[in-house]
Protein backbone atom coordinates (compact mmCIF):
# COMPACT_ATOMS: atom_id res chain seq x y z
CA UNK A 1 0.00 0.00 0.00
CA UNK A 2 1.52 3.27 -1.11
CA UNK A 3 1.65 5.43 1.96
CA UNK A 4 1.03 9.10 1.39
CA UNK A 5 2.92 10.84 4.13
CA UNK A 6 1.26 14.11 5.08
CA UNK A 7 3.12 15.15 8.16
CA UNK A 8 6.63 14.44 9.22
CA UNK A 9 8.20 15.40 12.50
CA UNK A 10 11.98 15.17 12.53
CA UNK A 11 14.09 15.30 15.66
CA UNK A 12 11.80 17.83 17.27
CA UNK A 13 12.88 19.53 20.47
CA UNK A 14 10.71 22.00 22.36
CA UNK A 15 11.82 23.70 25.54
CA UNK A 16 9.98 25.63 28.18
CA UNK A 17 12.07 28.06 30.13
CA UNK A 18 11.29 29.74 33.37
CA UNK A 19 12.19 33.41 33.27
CA UNK A 20 14.93 34.44 35.61
CA UNK A 21 13.67 36.10 38.74
CA UNK A 22 15.69 38.82 40.45
CA UNK A 23 16.78 36.23 42.95
CA UNK A 24 18.18 34.01 40.22
CA UNK A 25 20.07 36.91 38.66
CA UNK A 26 21.53 37.76 42.03
CA UNK A 27 22.65 34.24 42.63
CA UNK A 28 23.94 33.83 39.12
CA UNK A 29 21.60 30.94 38.29
CA UNK A 30 21.28 30.08 34.64
CA UNK A 31 17.89 29.99 32.98
CA UNK A 32 16.03 26.83 33.89
CA UNK A 33 14.75 24.96 30.90
CA UNK A 34 12.50 21.97 30.72
CA UNK A 35 12.60 19.82 27.63
CA UNK A 36 8.94 19.22 26.96
CA UNK A 37 9.73 17.40 23.70
CA UNK A 38 13.12 15.81 23.25
CA UNK A 39 14.15 14.62 19.81
CA UNK A 40 10.84 13.22 18.59
CA UNK A 41 10.43 11.59 15.18
CA UNK A 42 6.96 10.84 13.89
CA UNK A 43 5.14 10.59 10.60
CA UNK A 44 1.49 10.63 9.70
CA UNK A 45 0.04 9.16 6.52
CA UNK A 46 -3.12 10.20 4.73
CA UNK A 47 -6.24 8.59 6.09
CA UNK A 48 -4.52 7.08 9.08
CA UNK A 49 -5.39 7.44 12.76
CA UNK A 50 -2.13 7.56 14.64
CA UNK A 51 -2.30 7.04 18.38
CA UNK A 52 -0.08 8.88 20.81
CA UNK A 53 -0.27 7.59 24.34
CA UNK A 54 1.35 9.01 27.44
CA UNK A 55 0.58 10.31 30.86
CA UNK A 56 0.73 13.86 32.13
CA UNK A 57 4.11 15.44 31.57
CA UNK A 58 4.90 13.17 28.64
CA UNK A 59 4.73 16.07 26.19
CA UNK A 60 1.84 14.78 24.13
CA UNK A 61 -0.25 17.94 24.44
CA UNK A 62 2.81 20.08 23.83
CA UNK A 63 3.36 18.20 20.58
CA UNK A 64 -0.05 19.21 19.28
CA UNK A 65 0.50 22.82 20.29
CA UNK A 66 3.84 22.80 18.49
CA UNK A 67 2.36 21.41 15.28
CA UNK A 68 -0.18 24.26 15.16
CA UNK A 69 2.47 26.84 15.92
CA UNK A 70 1.64 27.80 19.47
CA UNK A 71 4.84 26.46 21.02
CA UNK A 72 8.20 27.54 19.62
CA UNK A 73 10.52 24.95 18.14
CA UNK A 74 13.98 24.80 19.67
CA UNK A 75 15.42 22.23 17.31
CA UNK A 76 14.32 19.93 14.52
CA UNK A 77 11.61 20.47 11.95
CA UNK A 78 8.08 19.68 10.96
CA UNK A 79 7.32 18.96 7.30
CA UNK A 80 4.01 19.03 5.51
CA UNK A 81 3.91 17.12 2.25
CA UNK A 82 7.68 17.10 2.24
CA UNK A 83 8.15 20.84 2.70
CA UNK A 84 9.39 22.28 5.96
CA UNK A 85 6.86 24.51 7.72
CA UNK A 86 8.29 27.94 8.41
CA UNK A 87 6.63 28.86 11.69
CA UNK A 88 8.40 32.20 11.83
CA UNK A 89 6.64 33.45 8.71
CA UNK A 90 3.80 35.75 9.76
CA UNK A 91 1.58 34.57 6.95
CA UNK A 92 1.81 31.00 8.15
CA UNK A 93 -1.20 31.36 10.45
CA UNK A 94 -3.71 31.18 7.61
CA UNK A 95 -1.98 28.16 6.10
CA UNK A 96 -1.81 26.30 9.39
CA UNK A 97 -5.44 26.98 10.20
CA UNK A 98 -6.54 25.46 6.92
CA UNK A 99 -4.43 22.35 7.24
CA UNK A 100 -4.51 21.41 10.91
CA UNK A 101 -7.35 21.70 13.36
CA UNK A 102 -7.59 20.72 16.99
CA UNK A 103 -10.25 19.08 19.15
CA UNK A 104 -9.61 19.84 22.80
CA UNK A 105 -9.92 17.76 25.89
CA UNK A 106 -12.22 19.80 28.04
CA UNK A 107 -15.61 20.34 26.45
CA UNK A 108 -16.37 22.88 29.14
CA UNK A 109 -13.63 25.33 28.28
CA UNK A 110 -13.14 24.65 24.59
CA UNK A 111 -16.22 26.62 23.56
CA UNK A 112 -16.71 30.33 24.10
CA UNK A 113 -19.23 30.54 26.94
CA UNK A 114 -20.77 33.76 25.68
CA UNK A 115 -21.38 32.61 22.12
CA UNK A 116 -24.22 30.42 20.91
CA UNK A 117 -23.50 27.33 18.84
CA UNK A 118 -24.90 29.19 15.86
CA UNK A 119 -22.60 32.17 16.35
CA UNK A 120 -19.52 30.01 16.84
CA UNK A 121 -20.07 27.95 13.73
CA UNK A 122 -21.20 30.89 11.62
CA UNK A 123 -17.98 32.71 12.43
CA UNK A 124 -15.77 29.79 11.44
CA UNK A 125 -17.59 29.15 8.20
CA UNK A 126 -17.74 32.81 7.22
CA UNK A 127 -14.08 33.41 8.13
CA UNK A 128 -12.78 30.65 5.92
CA UNK A 129 -15.34 31.06 3.14
CA UNK A 130 -15.99 34.76 2.92
CA UNK A 131 -17.74 34.48 -0.44
CA UNK A 132 -20.68 32.48 0.92
CA UNK A 133 -23.97 34.24 1.52
CA UNK A 134 -26.18 33.74 4.56
CA UNK A 135 -28.15 30.87 3.08
CA UNK A 136 -25.03 28.97 2.01
CA UNK A 137 -23.47 29.45 5.42
CA UNK A 138 -26.59 28.12 7.09
CA UNK A 139 -26.72 25.09 4.83
CA UNK A 140 -23.10 24.26 5.50
CA UNK A 141 -23.75 24.59 9.20
CA UNK A 142 -26.67 22.17 9.06
CA UNK A 143 -24.65 19.63 7.10
CA UNK A 144 -21.84 19.83 9.66
CA UNK A 145 -24.25 19.37 12.55
CA UNK A 146 -25.82 16.38 10.87
CA UNK A 147 -22.39 14.89 10.33
CA UNK A 148 -21.54 15.11 14.01
CA UNK A 149 -24.95 14.07 15.21
CA UNK A 150 -25.97 17.32 16.87
CA UNK A 151 -29.64 18.25 17.07
CA UNK A 152 -30.12 21.39 15.01
CA UNK A 153 -32.94 22.57 17.25
CA UNK A 154 -30.34 23.40 19.83
CA UNK A 155 -28.18 25.75 17.80
CA UNK A 156 -29.26 28.88 19.61
CA UNK A 157 -28.10 27.50 22.91
CA UNK A 158 -24.99 28.59 24.72
CA UNK A 159 -22.48 25.98 25.89
CA UNK A 160 -23.64 26.08 29.47
CA UNK A 161 -26.99 24.61 28.43
CA UNK A 162 -25.38 21.72 26.60
CA UNK A 163 -24.08 18.41 27.91
CA UNK A 164 -20.43 17.38 27.67
CA UNK A 165 -21.08 15.09 24.75
CA UNK A 166 -22.98 17.75 22.86
CA UNK A 167 -20.25 20.32 23.44
CA UNK A 168 -17.63 17.92 22.18
CA UNK A 169 -19.66 17.33 19.05
CA UNK A 170 -19.67 21.09 18.46
CA UNK A 171 -15.94 21.18 19.05
CA UNK A 172 -15.55 18.55 16.36
CA UNK A 173 -17.96 20.38 14.04
CA UNK A 174 -16.02 23.61 14.50
CA UNK A 175 -12.79 21.88 13.58
CA UNK A 176 -14.36 20.18 10.58
CA UNK A 177 -15.87 23.43 9.31
CA UNK A 178 -12.43 24.43 8.13
CA UNK A 179 -12.10 21.18 6.14
CA UNK A 180 -8.66 20.47 7.52
CA UNK A 181 -6.25 17.87 6.22
CA UNK A 182 -5.31 16.65 9.66
CA UNK A 183 -7.37 16.58 12.84
CA UNK A 184 -5.35 16.71 16.03
CA UNK A 185 -7.30 15.36 18.96
CA UNK A 186 -6.01 16.09 22.44
CA UNK A 187 -7.68 13.57 24.73
CA UNK A 188 -11.09 14.24 23.16
CA UNK A 189 -13.09 11.77 25.26
CA UNK A 190 -11.25 11.81 28.57
CA UNK A 191 -13.64 14.28 30.15
CA UNK A 192 -16.77 12.51 28.97
CA UNK A 193 -18.89 9.87 30.58
CA UNK A 194 -18.28 6.33 29.45
CA UNK A 195 -21.49 5.89 27.49
CA UNK A 196 -20.93 9.22 25.73
CA UNK A 197 -17.29 8.32 25.09
CA UNK A 198 -18.47 5.36 23.09
CA UNK A 199 -20.70 7.57 20.93
CA UNK A 200 -17.93 10.07 20.22
CA UNK A 201 -15.37 7.35 19.48
CA UNK A 202 -17.77 5.75 17.03
CA UNK A 203 -18.36 9.16 15.46
CA UNK A 204 -14.64 9.79 15.02
CA UNK A 205 -14.17 6.43 13.40
CA UNK A 206 -17.07 7.19 11.05
CA UNK A 207 -15.56 10.55 10.11
CA UNK A 208 -12.21 8.96 9.43
CA UNK A 209 -13.78 6.44 7.09
CA UNK A 210 -16.26 8.76 5.37
CA UNK A 211 -13.98 11.73 4.82
CA UNK A 212 -10.65 9.90 4.75
CA UNK A 213 -9.69 12.32 7.49
CA UNK A 214 -6.21 11.89 8.91
CA UNK A 215 -6.07 12.00 12.69
CA UNK A 216 -3.50 12.23 15.43
CA UNK A 217 -5.26 10.82 18.48
CA UNK A 218 -3.65 11.66 21.79
CA UNK A 219 -4.89 9.90 24.93
CA UNK A 220 -3.70 8.30 28.11
CA UNK A 221 -6.07 5.35 28.08
CA UNK A 222 -4.61 2.43 26.21
CA UNK A 223 -7.92 0.70 25.64
CA UNK A 224 -9.24 3.71 23.75
CA UNK A 225 -6.07 4.02 21.70
CA UNK A 226 -6.23 0.34 20.86
CA UNK A 227 -9.80 0.72 19.64
CA UNK A 228 -9.16 3.81 17.53
CA UNK A 229 -5.73 3.38 16.03
CA UNK A 230 -3.68 1.03 13.95
CA UNK A 231 -0.28 2.42 14.82
CA UNK A 232 0.67 3.62 18.26
CA UNK A 233 3.50 5.75 19.65
CA UNK A 234 4.21 5.71 23.38
CA UNK A 235 5.53 8.92 24.86
CA UNK A 236 7.37 9.33 28.11
CA UNK A 237 9.08 12.47 29.41
CA UNK A 238 9.19 14.08 26.00
CA UNK A 239 10.48 11.12 24.05
CA UNK A 240 8.89 8.42 21.97
CA UNK A 241 9.93 5.26 23.77
CA UNK A 242 8.11 2.79 21.60
CA UNK A 243 6.36 2.81 18.25
CA UNK A 244 4.62 0.17 16.26
CA UNK A 245 1.53 -1.64 15.22
CA UNK A 246 -1.01 -1.82 18.02
CA UNK A 247 -1.08 -5.59 18.21
CA UNK A 248 2.67 -5.70 18.66
CA UNK A 249 2.68 -3.06 21.32
CA UNK A 250 -0.02 -4.73 23.34
CA UNK A 251 1.10 -8.32 23.01
CA UNK A 252 4.81 -7.74 23.03
CA UNK A 253 5.75 -4.49 24.70
CA UNK A 254 9.49 -3.90 24.65
CA UNK A 255 10.12 -0.74 26.62
CA UNK A 256 9.73 -0.98 30.42
CA UNK A 257 7.48 2.07 30.52
CA UNK A 258 5.14 0.54 27.98
CA UNK A 259 5.05 -2.61 30.02
CA UNK A 260 4.26 -0.66 33.15
CA UNK A 261 1.52 1.23 31.34
CA UNK A 262 -0.12 -1.93 30.10
CA UNK A 263 0.08 -3.57 33.49
CA UNK A 264 -1.54 -0.57 35.14
CA UNK A 265 -4.69 -0.65 33.07
CA UNK A 266 -7.54 -1.96 35.18
CA UNK A 267 -9.15 -4.77 33.27
CA UNK A 268 -12.67 -6.04 33.09
CA UNK A 269 -13.04 -9.66 34.20
CA UNK A 270 -13.35 -11.26 30.80
Amino acid sequence: MKSNILLQIKNLTVEFSKDKSLFDIFKGNSKKTLKAINGVDLSLSKGEILGLVGESGSGKSSLIKTIVGINKIKDGKILYLGKEIDYKNRKIKKFLSKKFQVVFQDPYSSLNPSMTVFATLKEVIKFHNSELDYKAVYEKMISLLTMVGFNKDLIYRKPKSLSGGQRQRIGIARALAVEPEILLLDEPVTALDVSIQAQILNLLKDLNEKLNLTMLFVAHELSIIEFMCEKVAVMYLGEIVEFGNKNEIFRNPKHPYTKKLIESIPKLPF
Binding site: E55, S56, S163, G164, G165, Q166, D193, V194, S195, I196, Q197, A198, Q199, L201, N202, K205, H220, E221, L222, S223, I224, E226, F227, N247, F250, R251, K260, L261, E263, S264, I265, P266, K267, L268, P269, F270
Partner: protein, 332 residues
Protein backbone atom coordinates in the same frame (compact mmCIF):
# COMPACT_ATOMS: atom_id res chain seq x y z
CA UNK B 1 -11.03 -10.31 48.17
CA UNK B 2 -13.42 -11.26 50.90
CA UNK B 3 -16.48 -13.09 49.67
CA UNK B 4 -17.99 -14.53 52.80
CA UNK B 5 -21.36 -13.39 54.09
CA UNK B 6 -20.19 -11.32 57.03
CA UNK B 7 -22.33 -9.23 59.28
CA UNK B 8 -23.65 -5.92 58.08
CA UNK B 9 -21.68 -2.95 59.29
CA UNK B 10 -23.59 -0.20 57.50
CA UNK B 11 -27.17 -0.26 56.37
CA UNK B 12 -28.75 2.33 54.09
CA UNK B 13 -32.52 2.02 54.01
CA UNK B 14 -34.72 3.80 51.51
CA UNK B 15 -32.58 6.94 51.34
CA UNK B 16 -33.90 9.86 49.33
CA UNK B 17 -32.02 13.14 49.00
CA UNK B 18 -33.12 16.26 47.17
CA UNK B 19 -31.45 19.51 46.21
CA UNK B 20 -33.08 22.92 45.87
CA UNK B 21 -31.51 24.57 42.85
CA UNK B 22 -32.94 27.83 41.47
CA UNK B 23 -36.45 27.10 42.68
CA UNK B 24 -36.28 23.57 41.24
CA UNK B 25 -36.24 20.50 43.35
CA UNK B 26 -33.84 17.87 42.08
CA UNK B 27 -34.04 14.38 43.50
CA UNK B 28 -30.42 13.31 43.68
CA UNK B 29 -30.99 9.99 45.39
CA UNK B 30 -34.23 8.08 45.22
CA UNK B 31 -35.09 5.18 47.53
CA UNK B 32 -31.57 3.84 47.81
CA UNK B 33 -31.21 0.73 49.93
CA UNK B 34 -27.98 -1.15 50.30
CA UNK B 35 -25.79 -2.78 52.92
CA UNK B 36 -22.09 -2.81 53.49
CA UNK B 37 -20.68 -5.98 55.02
CA UNK B 38 -17.79 -6.13 57.39
CA UNK B 39 -14.43 -6.37 55.65
CA UNK B 40 -15.88 -6.02 52.16
CA UNK B 41 -15.09 -3.63 49.35
CA UNK B 42 -18.27 -2.30 47.78
CA UNK B 43 -18.09 -0.40 44.51
CA UNK B 44 -20.63 2.20 43.43
CA UNK B 45 -20.38 2.92 39.75
CA UNK B 46 -22.25 5.50 37.69
CA UNK B 47 -21.81 8.35 35.26
CA UNK B 48 -22.38 12.06 35.88
CA UNK B 49 -25.75 12.81 37.33
CA UNK B 50 -26.16 9.31 38.71
CA UNK B 51 -26.11 10.53 42.30
CA UNK B 52 -23.19 8.44 43.46
CA UNK B 53 -21.26 11.30 45.05
CA UNK B 54 -24.38 12.50 46.85
CA UNK B 55 -24.87 8.99 48.22
CA UNK B 56 -21.31 8.80 49.40
CA UNK B 57 -21.41 12.16 51.12
CA UNK B 58 -24.76 11.39 52.72
CA UNK B 59 -23.29 8.48 54.62
CA UNK B 60 -21.47 10.84 56.92
CA UNK B 61 -24.03 13.58 56.46
CA UNK B 62 -21.59 15.78 54.64
CA UNK B 63 -24.08 17.57 52.42
CA UNK B 64 -24.95 21.19 53.28
CA UNK B 65 -28.61 21.41 54.19
CA UNK B 66 -29.78 23.70 52.50
CA UNK B 67 -29.65 23.21 49.53
CA UNK B 68 -29.72 19.48 50.23
CA UNK B 69 -32.55 17.84 52.08
CA UNK B 70 -32.76 14.32 53.46
CA UNK B 71 -36.27 13.48 52.38
CA UNK B 72 -36.58 10.00 53.79
CA UNK B 73 -34.69 6.96 54.88
CA UNK B 74 -32.04 6.16 57.39
CA UNK B 75 -28.38 5.23 57.51
CA UNK B 76 -27.80 2.74 60.27
CA UNK B 77 -24.39 2.34 61.83
CA UNK B 78 -23.94 0.61 65.17
CA UNK B 79 -27.70 0.56 65.62
CA UNK B 80 -27.91 4.33 65.35
CA UNK B 81 -29.23 6.45 62.51
CA UNK B 82 -26.44 8.73 61.32
CA UNK B 83 -28.91 11.20 59.87
CA UNK B 84 -30.43 11.93 63.27
CA UNK B 85 -27.28 12.02 65.38
CA UNK B 86 -26.26 15.07 67.35
CA UNK B 87 -23.39 17.15 65.99
CA UNK B 88 -21.09 15.88 68.71
CA UNK B 89 -21.84 12.23 68.03
CA UNK B 90 -21.50 12.83 64.30
CA UNK B 91 -18.07 14.35 64.79
CA UNK B 92 -16.96 11.34 66.80
CA UNK B 93 -18.06 9.01 64.04
CA UNK B 94 -16.24 11.03 61.38
CA UNK B 95 -13.13 11.12 63.51
CA UNK B 96 -12.88 7.51 64.54
CA UNK B 97 -15.31 5.28 62.71
CA UNK B 98 -15.99 6.38 59.15
CA UNK B 99 -13.38 8.25 57.11
CA UNK B 100 -13.50 9.69 53.59
CA UNK B 101 -11.09 10.57 50.82
CA UNK B 102 -11.97 12.74 47.87
CA UNK B 103 -11.35 13.03 44.19
CA UNK B 104 -9.01 15.98 43.95
CA UNK B 105 -6.04 15.57 46.28
CA UNK B 106 -4.93 19.15 45.70
CA UNK B 107 -8.09 20.58 47.18
CA UNK B 108 -8.01 18.28 50.21
CA UNK B 109 -5.14 20.26 51.63
CA UNK B 110 -4.72 23.78 52.89
CA UNK B 111 -2.11 25.31 50.58
CA UNK B 112 -0.57 27.57 53.21
CA UNK B 113 0.25 24.89 55.75
CA UNK B 114 2.74 22.06 55.59
CA UNK B 115 1.48 18.63 54.66
CA UNK B 116 2.88 17.12 57.81
CA UNK B 117 1.10 19.50 60.11
CA UNK B 118 -2.18 18.73 58.41
CA UNK B 119 -1.74 14.98 58.59
CA UNK B 120 -1.37 15.08 62.37
CA UNK B 121 -3.85 17.85 62.99
CA UNK B 122 -6.45 17.22 65.62
CA UNK B 123 -5.07 13.83 66.32
CA UNK B 124 -6.70 12.41 69.40
CA UNK B 125 -3.30 11.56 70.72
CA UNK B 126 -2.00 15.06 70.18
CA UNK B 127 -3.32 16.09 73.55
CA UNK B 128 -0.97 13.68 75.20
CA UNK B 129 1.93 14.17 72.80
CA UNK B 130 4.08 17.17 72.18
CA UNK B 131 4.61 18.67 68.75
CA UNK B 132 7.77 16.60 68.28
CA UNK B 133 6.05 13.40 69.19
CA UNK B 134 3.15 14.19 66.91
CA UNK B 135 5.67 14.71 64.11
CA UNK B 136 7.17 11.31 64.85
CA UNK B 137 3.75 9.77 64.57
CA UNK B 138 3.12 11.66 61.34
CA UNK B 139 6.36 10.51 59.76
CA UNK B 140 5.53 6.94 60.64
CA UNK B 141 2.11 7.37 59.10
CA UNK B 142 3.53 8.79 55.87
CA UNK B 143 5.91 5.88 55.73
CA UNK B 144 3.00 3.46 55.98
CA UNK B 145 1.40 4.96 52.90
CA UNK B 146 4.57 4.73 50.88
CA UNK B 147 6.00 8.25 50.93
CA UNK B 148 9.75 8.20 50.42
CA UNK B 149 11.95 10.17 52.83
CA UNK B 150 9.03 11.28 54.95
CA UNK B 151 11.29 13.17 57.37
CA UNK B 152 12.11 15.82 54.81
CA UNK B 153 8.76 15.64 53.03
CA UNK B 154 6.88 16.28 56.27
CA UNK B 155 7.69 19.99 56.30
CA UNK B 156 6.92 20.62 52.66
CA UNK B 157 3.88 22.39 51.33
CA UNK B 158 1.14 20.80 49.22
CA UNK B 159 2.26 22.46 46.01
CA UNK B 160 5.61 20.71 46.32
CA UNK B 161 3.97 17.30 46.32
CA UNK B 162 2.61 15.51 43.26
CA UNK B 163 -1.03 14.50 42.97
CA UNK B 164 -0.28 10.88 43.72
CA UNK B 165 1.71 11.74 46.83
CA UNK B 166 -1.00 14.05 48.12
CA UNK B 167 -3.56 11.33 47.70
CA UNK B 168 -1.35 9.05 49.74
CA UNK B 169 -1.19 11.72 52.41
CA UNK B 170 -4.97 12.04 52.27
CA UNK B 171 -5.23 8.31 52.78
CA UNK B 172 -2.85 8.61 55.70
CA UNK B 173 -5.09 11.24 57.26
CA UNK B 174 -8.12 9.06 56.74
CA UNK B 175 -6.75 5.89 58.26
CA UNK B 176 -4.77 7.29 61.14
CA UNK B 177 -7.45 6.48 63.70
CA UNK B 178 -8.10 3.04 62.22
CA UNK B 179 -11.62 3.66 60.98
CA UNK B 180 -14.01 0.78 60.47
CA UNK B 181 -15.24 2.15 57.16
CA UNK B 182 -13.41 4.11 54.45
CA UNK B 183 -15.40 6.01 51.84
CA UNK B 184 -13.41 6.73 48.69
CA UNK B 185 -15.08 9.14 46.25
CA UNK B 186 -13.32 8.74 42.90
CA UNK B 187 -9.90 8.68 44.57
CA UNK B 188 -7.94 8.03 41.41
CA UNK B 189 -9.88 9.89 38.75
CA UNK B 190 -7.55 12.87 38.82
CA UNK B 191 -4.40 10.75 38.68
CA UNK B 192 -2.34 9.17 35.93
CA UNK B 193 -2.95 5.54 35.12
CA UNK B 194 0.30 4.24 36.59
CA UNK B 195 -0.23 6.22 39.78
CA UNK B 196 -3.83 5.03 39.88
CA UNK B 197 -2.67 1.43 40.00
CA UNK B 198 -0.34 2.22 42.91
CA UNK B 199 -2.99 4.06 44.90
CA UNK B 200 -5.54 1.32 44.40
CA UNK B 201 -3.13 -1.37 45.52
CA UNK B 202 -2.23 0.78 48.54
CA UNK B 203 -5.89 1.08 49.47
CA UNK B 204 -6.52 -2.61 49.06
CA UNK B 205 -3.45 -3.44 51.11
CA UNK B 206 -4.62 -1.27 53.98
CA UNK B 207 -8.13 -2.63 53.68
CA UNK B 208 -7.00 -6.20 53.90
CA UNK B 209 -4.58 -5.60 56.75
CA UNK B 210 -7.05 -3.80 58.97
CA UNK B 211 -10.10 -5.72 57.81
CA UNK B 212 -11.56 -2.33 56.98
CA UNK B 213 -14.80 -2.04 55.03
CA UNK B 214 -14.61 0.19 52.01
CA UNK B 215 -16.98 1.90 49.62
CA UNK B 216 -15.31 2.89 46.37
CA UNK B 217 -17.22 5.30 44.16
CA UNK B 218 -16.09 5.56 40.55
CA UNK B 219 -17.23 6.14 37.02
CA UNK B 220 -14.66 3.63 35.80
CA UNK B 221 -16.16 0.17 35.56
CA UNK B 222 -12.77 -1.47 35.16
CA UNK B 223 -11.43 0.10 38.35
CA UNK B 224 -14.31 -1.24 40.45
CA UNK B 225 -14.10 -4.58 38.67
CA UNK B 226 -10.53 -5.06 39.79
CA UNK B 227 -10.92 -3.87 43.33
CA UNK B 228 -14.39 -4.60 44.60
CA UNK B 229 -16.20 -7.62 45.96
CA UNK B 230 -19.63 -6.31 45.12
CA UNK B 231 -20.71 -3.57 42.74
CA UNK B 232 -23.76 -1.32 42.72
CA UNK B 233 -24.72 0.47 39.53
CA UNK B 234 -26.48 3.82 39.71
CA UNK B 235 -28.38 5.74 37.07
CA UNK B 236 -30.30 9.01 37.41
CA UNK B 237 -30.45 8.85 41.17
CA UNK B 238 -31.51 5.26 41.53
CA UNK B 239 -29.63 2.07 42.27
CA UNK B 240 -30.44 -0.08 39.26
CA UNK B 241 -28.41 -3.18 39.98
CA UNK B 242 -26.21 -4.65 42.66
CA UNK B 243 -24.35 -7.96 42.62
CA UNK B 244 -21.09 -9.74 43.31
CA UNK B 245 -18.46 -8.59 40.84
CA UNK B 246 -18.18 -11.87 39.00
CA UNK B 247 -21.96 -12.19 38.66
CA UNK B 248 -22.37 -8.63 37.49
CA UNK B 249 -20.06 -9.11 34.55
CA UNK B 250 -21.07 -12.66 33.75
CA UNK B 251 -24.81 -12.11 33.80
CA UNK B 252 -25.77 -8.45 34.11
CA UNK B 253 -29.44 -8.14 34.94
CA UNK B 254 -30.09 -4.55 33.94
CA UNK B 255 -29.90 -3.07 30.41
CA UNK B 256 -27.98 -0.04 31.66
CA UNK B 257 -25.24 -2.24 33.09
CA UNK B 258 -25.12 -4.09 29.79
CA UNK B 259 -24.84 -0.79 27.94
CA UNK B 260 -22.03 0.39 30.20
CA UNK B 261 -20.04 -2.78 29.75
CA UNK B 262 -20.49 -2.62 26.00
CA UNK B 263 -19.36 1.01 25.86
CA UNK B 264 -15.90 0.17 27.08
CA UNK B 265 -13.40 -0.75 24.38
CA UNK B 266 -11.81 -4.09 25.10
CA UNK B 267 -8.18 -4.77 24.48
CA UNK B 268 -7.19 -7.39 21.92
CA UNK B 269 -10.71 -7.81 20.62
CA UNK B 270 -10.51 -5.96 17.30
CA UNK B 271 -13.82 -4.15 17.67
CA UNK B 272 -14.93 -2.08 14.72
CA UNK B 273 -17.52 -0.08 16.61
CA UNK B 274 -18.60 0.14 20.20
CA UNK B 275 -22.15 -0.79 21.04
CA UNK B 276 -23.05 2.52 22.61
CA UNK B 277 -26.21 3.47 24.46
CA UNK B 278 -28.41 5.71 22.34
CA UNK B 279 -29.57 9.09 23.57
CA UNK B 280 -28.20 11.44 26.18
CA UNK B 281 -27.41 10.80 29.79
CA UNK B 282 -30.34 11.34 32.07
CA UNK B 283 -29.42 13.35 35.08
CA UNK B 284 -31.16 13.37 38.39
CA UNK B 285 -34.44 15.15 38.18
CA UNK B 286 -37.93 14.56 39.36
CA UNK B 287 -39.46 11.71 41.20
CA UNK B 288 -40.44 8.67 39.20
CA UNK B 289 -41.76 5.32 40.20
CA UNK B 290 -40.55 3.46 37.17
CA UNK B 291 -37.09 2.54 35.97
CA UNK B 292 -35.19 5.71 35.01
CA UNK B 293 -33.47 4.06 32.06
CA UNK B 294 -36.69 3.34 30.23
CA UNK B 295 -36.31 6.02 27.49
CA UNK B 296 -32.94 4.77 26.30
CA UNK B 297 -33.44 1.07 26.89
CA UNK B 298 -33.60 -1.15 23.84
CA UNK B 299 -35.67 -3.74 25.64
CA UNK B 300 -38.26 -1.44 27.12
CA UNK B 301 -41.91 -1.23 26.21
CA UNK B 302 -45.11 0.36 27.53
CA UNK B 303 -45.14 -2.09 30.43
CA UNK B 304 -42.02 -0.60 31.88
CA UNK B 305 -43.76 2.74 32.43
CA UNK B 306 -46.59 1.15 34.35
CA UNK B 307 -44.50 -0.91 36.62
CA UNK B 308 -43.92 0.38 40.07
CA UNK B 309 -40.47 -1.03 40.11
CA UNK B 310 -39.00 -2.47 43.21
CA UNK B 311 -35.56 -3.81 43.71
CA UNK B 312 -35.95 -7.53 43.32
CA UNK B 313 -33.55 -10.36 43.92
CA UNK B 314 -33.16 -12.40 40.76
CA UNK B 315 -30.32 -14.59 41.93
CA UNK B 316 -28.52 -14.97 45.21
CA UNK B 317 -27.22 -11.56 46.28
CA UNK B 318 -28.06 -10.17 42.85
CA UNK B 319 -30.68 -7.43 42.77
CA UNK B 320 -32.05 -5.47 39.85
CA UNK B 321 -34.55 -2.72 39.18
CA UNK B 322 -35.43 -4.11 35.76
CA UNK B 323 -38.88 -5.72 35.75
CA UNK B 324 -38.02 -7.97 32.78
CA UNK B 325 -34.36 -8.94 33.05
CA UNK B 326 -35.05 -12.13 31.14
CA UNK B 327 -35.24 -10.04 27.94
CA UNK B 328 -31.59 -9.09 28.16
CA UNK B 329 -29.21 -10.57 25.64
CA UNK B 330 -25.62 -10.23 26.69
CA UNK B 331 -22.65 -11.65 24.85
CA UNK B 332 -19.59 -11.91 26.96
Amino acid sequence: MNMSANSKILSINNLSVSFDVDKNKIIANQNISLNLNEGEVLGIVGESGSGKTVLCKSIIKLLPTPPAKYLSGEIMYNDKNILTLSDEALREIRKKEIAMIFQNPMSSFNPVRTVGSQVVENLDLKKKFSKKEAKFFGIDLLNKVGIHSPETRYDEYPHQWSGGMLQRAAIAMAIRNNPKILLADEPTTALDVTIQAQILSLLLGIQKKNNMSMILVSHDLAVVAETCDRIGVMYAGKLVEIANTQDLFKRPQHPYTVGLINSIPRINSNQKRLKSIAGTLKSVSSHTNFCPFVERCEYSNQDCYNKNVLFKEVQKNHFTLCPYPERIIFNN
